[in-house]
Amino acid sequence: MIGGKKLTGLIAALLVIFMPSFTLAQDINFSVSPPEVHIYNLSSGEAEEFELTIHNKDEIAHNFTIATFQPPEEERREGMAELPDGSWISFSSQEIEVAANSEANVTVAVAIPRGQKWAGGDWETWLGVAAESSDLLAVRLYVRLLVSTNPTMEARSNAGLVAGIVAGIVLLGCGCYYYFRRKAKPG
């Protein structure tokens, strides 16, 4: 009898019944623009910025988070490769509060490291914007970010070399000048 009660208790425990937290608030209505950004001709060692606008269409304020996401190959634009390093992308803020029925901008910076190996690249990454919530169902909106680098970007990193050549030529000119002046002096 006691054993039967224990078994029943065990079964009851295993079939524990509880109210799961699959109960949530209403869906959060928001939009992001632009949905796609393409930066052309970015060079090694350079950075470029643009702004994303998050429009909170709800009647209450919400916190939004922004993060990069590497898209699967089949979802990328034709000819685009995976961005080699997500750390090339940075945000003015990865979390932002947007008031009810308002918009807010997030500045996105794209910085390409120095190096010839980054010349002529065509890369794609996605910027995911999501509203913070504990809801069962949530929405995330992606902005496609396409980055194309300058195929001759190494020339830019040779600015010092060019400056050196120019300085050398000027010095050479001065040398010539003094040489000819001395040579032109009588006696």
Binding site: F18, P20, Y142, R144, A155, G173, F180
Partner: protein
């Protein structure tokens, strides 16, 4: 004097000859193209699934099963959509969780999640329209390289199926999230 002028001119010409090509390359213009005044947005008309009391190793389906929630494209650009799930965590201590199965099956502290889009009758591993929701982002609509992206104003109705773990510690308030995402097509 003539020699001085000649020397300076020669120096300037040589400097320009060497530096101009490189400087010209440095003057390349960076162009940023943004897709006009478009905005991307989708909405879901449900955010909660009040299950009531639930038990281990039991399957629960939304009511109605496949027209429970409506996804609507609110923005003004066509979109492709995706779905991803996550482990369910105990609200009081994230150290205890139910792992989300990668094939929709269940196990000890392992649970399964499925979705089915209205009209899909053969999709999924069982050919019944239900597709497992996993921790890897997968296609929601379109899928498998077929079908077209969703245009502004388009809708998709879907339902969920939850398969509870075969065993779990009871009396704990668990929480999980399913994220539906969209990108410009």
């Amino acid at each position: 004097m003539k020699v001085v002028i000649t020397s300076i001119v020669v120096a300037i010409i040589l400097a320009l000859v060497f530096s101009l090509p490189a400087l010209a390359q440095e003057s390349g213009t960076i162009t940023i193209t943004m897709t006009g005044v478009c905005e991307i947005s989708i909405s879901l008309d449900k955010a909660q699934w009040p299950l009531g009391n639930i038990a281990s190793d039991t399957e629960y389906t939304t009511i109605p099963p496949i027209e429970w929630c409506t996804l609507t494209v609110e923005g003004n650009c066509n979109v492709n959509t995706f779905i991803v799930g996550e482990d369910a965590e105990w609200v009081d201590n994230a150290g205890y969780k139910w792992t989300l199965s990668n094939d929709g099956t269940n196990g000890e502290n392992v649970y399964g999640l499925w979705f089915r889009i209205s009209g899909d009758t053969t999709r999924g591993p069982l050919g019944d329209g239900y597709v497992p929701i996993t921790k890897t982002q997968d296609e929601f609509w379109p899928y498998g390289g077929s079908g077209s992206s969703l245009a502004p104003g388009a809708t998709k109705q879907f339902g969920l199926k939850l398969l509870m773990p075969t065993y779990f510690v009871g009396g704990r308030d668990m929480q999980t999230q399913i994220t539906i995402s969209a990108v410009a097509a």
